[in-house]
């Protein structure tokens, strides 16, 4: 018999970052409907979004080291959650910088974009800050639904609709699988609370029984879909390529961070005692994902599609970090490396897509040849793109190198040296396609008129991402410390 809910169960402070983003979503929605079109209108909504996400980041950081929960652990604010929330908010904030310039140039409505962006971010935040299966499910759905609409945002382009529909259908399928897995887990353990599940699984002697294995398999497959792990990645290239590029930038980051938040919560926090059962699954997935992502990326002529496959490859690297999980000791490098990689990936991948979006808003295409000689026509943008691509390759001292370094360290500490070598080999292979683009920009023949640097928001966003990619690696100490402070 459930206990009655009392008022002391409500602790609204825990939800402060969420509430700010929710308010932002509702205000932009209302403002977009009420206020007539005009130039200041876009400017105002952008400023509001920047203030909203900035305020939410400040609120989240102010709540570190409190470890409070609310609504009977439906909302939990631990440092793990805060790290993920800040990563998601940073992704949203940077997307605003990119979209503020490029979305109006692509003749798409900015107000709806901001509203959907806020809802999707909110969904990810819900997943990050909860220890309950139901909330994780709700959060994933909220996050995904907004992104489906965003993927179809260029509604007059067939590819956009097609990609969104593929994404929607496969994702709905994956959701069903995930939910089924959660149901089995609930059936065996009798709880949706992850802490309780972990306690009961520890007491369980027969962890190899069919229902638990089925639950594990279904959950790994379901979350694998959301994170775009091979062989559940089929929707990714089409959805990424079809969506307007500012959307792709966000899509390649936020839903992935959300999926990894769910993996950390469900697999590590809830099913930690089942480690021996799910780790082999994740190792297989990670090798397949790194392999296919990197090898297929080589063959791509479209930069957007190349980055789509490269983002699949990065999913593989992050999966290595999760597979390196050994035991839930605070300060464990495996989870810290996953958190850090997500953080690093946010900046460098958003940055790379941002440059593609900028090039498209200038009327160019998205093929490798369109980048030819960019170093001459737009040296700053080319330099920024080079920084992002080198970082994605993992060249020190850029942010991406530190991400990979911590992943490799985690794998070797977990006695998975061979997996670390696989990471390294695929990093070397990935250098080929990233470098080809850098070579095209720097060594290719320039084409077209010199480009002019666009509006302030975009430049600011690029500057933030470049500085972060250059500097945060060298100063990764505090970030890694924060990532290592996770406590369930």
């Amino acid at each position: 018999v459930p206990e009655p809910i009392v008022s002391s169960d409500f602790n609204w402070v825990v939800l402060l970052p969420h509430l700010i983003v929710l308010a932002l979503a509702l205000v932009t929605l209302a403002y977009d409907i009420i206020v007539p079109d005009g130039q200041e209108r876009n400017w105002f909504m952008t400023a509001m979004s920047v203030a909203g996400y900035g305020g939410a980041i400040v609120a989240a950081l102010a709540l570190t080291a409190r470890y409070e929960s609310s609504f009977r652990e439906m909302a939990v604010l631990d440092d793990l959650g805060i790290f993920l929330i800040v990563t998601l908010l940073a992704a949203a904030l940077l997307t605003v910088f990119i979209a503020a310039t490029t979305i109006p140039q692509m003749r798409m409505p900015l107000g709806e974009f901001y509203t959907l962006l806020a809802f999707s971010t909110l969904g990810g935040m819900v997943v990050a800050a909860t220890t309950d299966l139901v909330m994780i499910f709700v959060g994933i759905e909220l996050s995904s639904l907004a992104v489906f609409i965003l993927a179809a945002f260029a509604k007059r382009r067939r590819e956009s609709i097609e990609g969104a529909l593929k994404y929607f259908l496969l994702s709905a399928f994956a959701t069903a699988i995930l939910l089924y897995g959660m149901a089995w887990l609930y059936g065996v353990t009798g709880s949706t609370n992850l802490t309780t599940i972990a306690t009961r699984l520890t007491a369980y002697t027969d962890r190899n029984n069919a229902s638990l294995l089925l639950a594990t398999l279904l959950i790994v497959v379901g979350l694998g879909f959301k994170a775009a792990a091979v062989p559940f990645h089929m929707w990714t290239p089409d959805a990424y390529q079809g969506a307007p590029t500012p959307v792709t930038a966000f899509m390649s980051v936020a839903p992935k961070v959300t999926a990894f938040a769910a993996m950390i919560r469900v697999l590590i926090e809830g099913m930690g005692p089942m480690r021996d059962q799910w780790v082999p699954l994740l190792i297989v997935l990670s090798v397949l994902t790194m392999g296919l992502g990197n090898l297929v990326a080589i063959a791509q002529r479209s930069v957007k599609r190349m980055l789509a496959y490269s983002s699949i490859a990065h999913t593989g690297y992050i999966l290595v970090g999760i597979a390196s999980f050994q035991a839930a000791n605070t300060g464990d490098i495996a989870i810290a490396s996953v958190l850090f990689y997500n953080f690093a990936y946010t900046f460098m991948n958003l940055g790379a897509f941002a440059i593609v979006a900028w090039l498209q808003s200038k009327g160019r295409g998205e093929s490798v040849d369109d980048f030819s000689g960019l170093a001459v026509t737009a040296p700053l943008h080319a330099a920024a793109m080079a920084v992002f691509l080198f970082s994605l390759t993992g060249v020190p001292p850029l942010l991406g190198f530190y991400g990979k370094y911590f992943i490799i360290q985690a794998a070797i500490e977990a006695n998975l040296t061979w997996l670390a070598i696989v990471v390294v080999i695929f990093s070397a292979i990935s250098a080929f396609y990233y470098l080809r683009l850098v070579a095209t920009m720097y060594f290719g023949e320039p084409q077209g008129e010199p480009e002019r640097i666009p509006a302030r928001f975009f430049g600011l966003g690029i500057a933030v991402m470049v500085v972060a990619t250059l500097v945060l690696g060298v100063l990764s100490g505090p970030i890694l410390d924060l990532a290592r402070q996770w406590v369930f």
Binding site: P396, F443, R484
Partner: protein
Amino acid sequence: VQNLVPDAFPLLSLITYLPLVGMLVLFLVPRISDDTARWTALITSGVVLVVSLLLLTRPVAEGAGAAGKFAPMIWNEQFEWLPEIGISYHFGADGMSILFVLLTTLLTPLAIIASWSSVGTRVREFHISMLLLETGLIGAFLSLDLFLFYVFFELSLIPMALIIGIWGSRNRVYSAIKFFLYTLAGSLLMLVAIVATYQAFYNQTGRRTLDVLELATQTYGVPFQYWVFAAFFIAFAIKVPMWPVHTWLPDAHTEAPTAGSVMLAAVMLKLGGYGMLRFCLPLYPEAARYFAPAIMILSTIAIIYGALVALPQPDWKRLVAYSSVSHMGFVTLGIFAFNEQALQGAIMVMFAHGLNTAALFLCVGIVYERAHTREIRLFRGLSSTMPIYSAFFCAFVFASIGLPGMTGFVGEFHALMGAFRGPGFASDDQLNLYRTTAIIASLVVILSAWYMLWLYQRVAQGTAPGLQLAHAHAGGHGGLGHDAGHAHGAHGHDSDDHGGDKVDRDHRAAPEAHGAPTDHGAHDPAEAASHEMHLTDVKPREILTLAPLLVLTIVFGFFPGPIFELVAPAVDNLLAAFK
């Protein structure tokens, strides 16, 4: 003089990051004029050279240092960086580091002077790359933390690849990417080995560190040592480069602009040898002993192979590049003989090779700037058209052969003597191997005399200067049937790497390229032709790049003592593990 620099002064960091100051100036002033950019870079690197000379103000520290395997650091800087995972910011310099840092700081300004007129496009970006390269190289020679070393090691790759890929000659993009991928693949394996060593140290001591001075205090298990050593060694062998992982080098050297070739040959290759001495040997001594015989054989192959392949090269620069493979073979030969004489010799070979090969590339660059070709068969009688130039070139040819009285001789002689003596712990069978390799390697000196003197004979001696060139440009290949046939005949020796294809492509492209040197858009055909007709002698600016190298080659050829004394503590301590 000894207390010129206070104890707490971060001299090493200053030297490392000073080039970045000039780089930032260039970066932040987008409309800087070409000449201002050149002067900014030259002044910056000149200041770095002067400041780096301060490294010599402290006496060389004698005695045993950290772990009994390192010399006491003359200069030391250590701060916490990422303490939780044991990464520290640790710079240190013993005599060996100082030698290579000085080589870097000397050659960077020379390379910038050498590019004064030969680099005419995107001048600002070129000098940004050069200064970034200098920072990367100096940092790598000073790092004592493996993580920090890796960062600088990789950092130096990007500007080098850009220098080859943007300012190189015809096949530059291919060469730049090949260079980058080759070195990256090697160093990524090293990264895994670094983390594995870190973890092994943690398992043995419970402490987390990447400080090589601390890591060397532990003895690691034997099968573990083998593969970790191999990973490090392959990364450094690619840099050296050793046969059979040398194939990036001829392409990179041939296509790179003069400054790129100079920095690559004189400094970057030394990172390989330096890395073996600094990291491979002290950390994994058992593995080093185990692999030594195989490495001796590979080194001998490299020495012979480099010389044999250099012999028929039709491309002047490619010939010098292959001679590098041969000379660097003496380095690994000396290192893995594990005795004082051999190690001293190996370090001396690196120093000598840095001076000589840099000078030889500068010589090729000087002629290329005037004639826009490097094909040996097109040159004749330079000693009458360019007498001063030929005198310099002749001197460096002899330095490369190893004429007594020049640094090359000192280094190779010691390396060979040391290799013949072999390590103190060697069994009779191993000793025989060492002696055999040393004897074979010393016979190669004849080959090196052959290819270098033959090169000199073909380009500098003979009569009718300019006639061949004029002929070639008027009639394309018409009058050169004999020469072309000769060059094609040479392919057979070179067929196991890409050299053969490359030459073929050059040949097909030759008529149009000579008529209009498209890879140097700044020169119009008429101007180029007039240059070719009258190959003017070296200008004072060019003498300024060659003279210091010649002086150093001769001074340290006759008086190598100071360099041996500088590196002696490092060598002695290193050998303590190989008695």
